[in-house]
Symmetry: C2
Subunit: 242 residues, 2 copies
DNA sequence: GACCTTATGACAACGGGGTTGACCGGACCA
DNA sequence: TGGTCCGGTCAACCCCGTTGTCATAAGGTC
């Protein structure tokens, strides 16, 4: 009986602590919790406490943890792309869309780790797919090529976002410290290349490679588009390489 | 007291059930567990049961769940790159390395989801970094460029691997079903692009975009290398774009 | 306002999880 | 033979997700 998201619920009784629950409030509180205590810090019980409500009340709004996480993911997508309207250049539009999503993930790394790999199937994600496909189709890709290109694009973005977010989220907690601690002191005898790169390795690993990877990717798309236009006109056949 | 990985432990007492524990056995059993019951199926208690040992015995070998997961991750890296020797062509070598890691992740998607974002700081990962840097430096990249390129390369690979593994691991469990269920039936009025791409979207989303993305990436690296060689000789300055 | 319906919050309980400290037995060395 | 200590076991701690049941206030109807 939980989580019918159609139509705002009509009867809202304040919690014992006085707060009035809603999907939005719960999701927002969950995001705050994750930001604060890390991705492990999100638990139904803690969320209930943070809301001033009994944990089980959450099950009136979401079918379970999974459903809640998906709602969180969708909310983050919405925030990242809020107010985004693609300009005339498909390349610039795609670049901005990617940068926005990437930046949104890095802004809340702990939440991104939790959500970046999820398919939400909700409004904001659907909207993003719609806009992304529109950009690509407007550029001249056919439906098959646009679908595949969008997939490659969004996975590229989310992949880098998740890895960089994970590195950021775990900063100092052990994982990333390894780049400084473990890799810095390896002897050049057994690991000549690591030793040679010692200084720049840690710096490179803590930075982001998304921007350049996205550039390469867009270059590839551009090339493919030109090739497709030369061969098959505006709607490249489905047999394009990508 | 736990988990001094230096030197094989000398005193091994068989478990009540008769098995003789070791780091390797525990890691292998953990991988088997994850493959079987999914990433949530790995628990210290279940692992203990599967080993025929008390759960707490595991803490004699690993400091905690995190340490164990890192060991699992490193073991998977080792398997993926076992016997890999880069050939003379840096591009082919990097491509094979990427494909191996990617394939290794997809072969055990449930384990990959758990481990792909982790920095293990252990032997196999170190070996992989050493080899990868060697390939790039052999191609002519300077230390800074090689470090950055390796980062971009490995994140590209792991990012796609993790997303595709997640999609595979959750097949039928809700996430991926969304592409068929939610996106297939959207009206063309409100979502014209999704509706137009309906057929190819689901297909595109279930497939992999890694191969083409890797191709784009290698094209970009090649271009950058040529440009660097034209400008600064064999060792391009650290100010290269990537 | 009285009354019924029902949405929704609270409570208690279930099984399972990670982790720890105490215990202890047997393996190794002298 | 005896001491040391590695490493397996046990019991217990507190946290977790989830569910079934109950209680109560919101909202509509008359």
């Amino acid at each position: 009986m939980a989580a019918d998201r159609l139509g705002a619920q009509r009867r809202r009784r304040p919690t014992r602590a006085g707060t009035v629950l809603s999907h939005e409030l719960i999701v927002a509180t969950a995001i705050r919790l994750v930001d604060l205590h890390g991705s492990d810090g999100l638990s139904v019980r803690r969320l209930g406490a943070a809301l001033g409500a009994d944990p089980s009340a959450i099950y009136r709004y979401f079918t379970g943890t999974d459903d809640l996480v998906r709602a969180v993911a969708d909310s983050l997508i919405g925030r990242a792309l809020d107010g985004f309207v693609p300009g005339p250049s498909w390349r610039a539009a795609l670049a901005e869309m990617g940068e926005r999503i990437y930046a949104g993930c890095l802004a809340r790394p702990r939440a991104a780790v939790l959500t970046a790999a999820r398919v939400t199937g909700r409004v904001h994600e659907i909207q993003a797919v719609e806009v992304g496909l529109g950009i690509l189709r407007g550029a001249g890709f056919g439906v098959a090529a646009a679908s595949r290109s969008y997939h490659a694009f969004i996975d590229l973005t989310l992949g880098y976002a998740m890895l960089d977010a994970a590195a950021l989220a775990l900063s100092g907690a052990g994982d990333v410290a390894a780049w400084g601690d473990v890799y810095a002191g390896l002897p050049s005898g057994s690991h000549p290349n690591i030793a040679a790169c010692a200084g720049s390795l840690e710096q490179a690993m803590s930075g982001s490679a998304y921007a350049s990877a996205l550039g390469f990717f867009l270059d590839g798309l551009t090339l493919e588009l030109e090739r497709g236009e030369k061969v098959g006109g505006r709607f490249g056949g489905p047999e394009n390489r990508l």
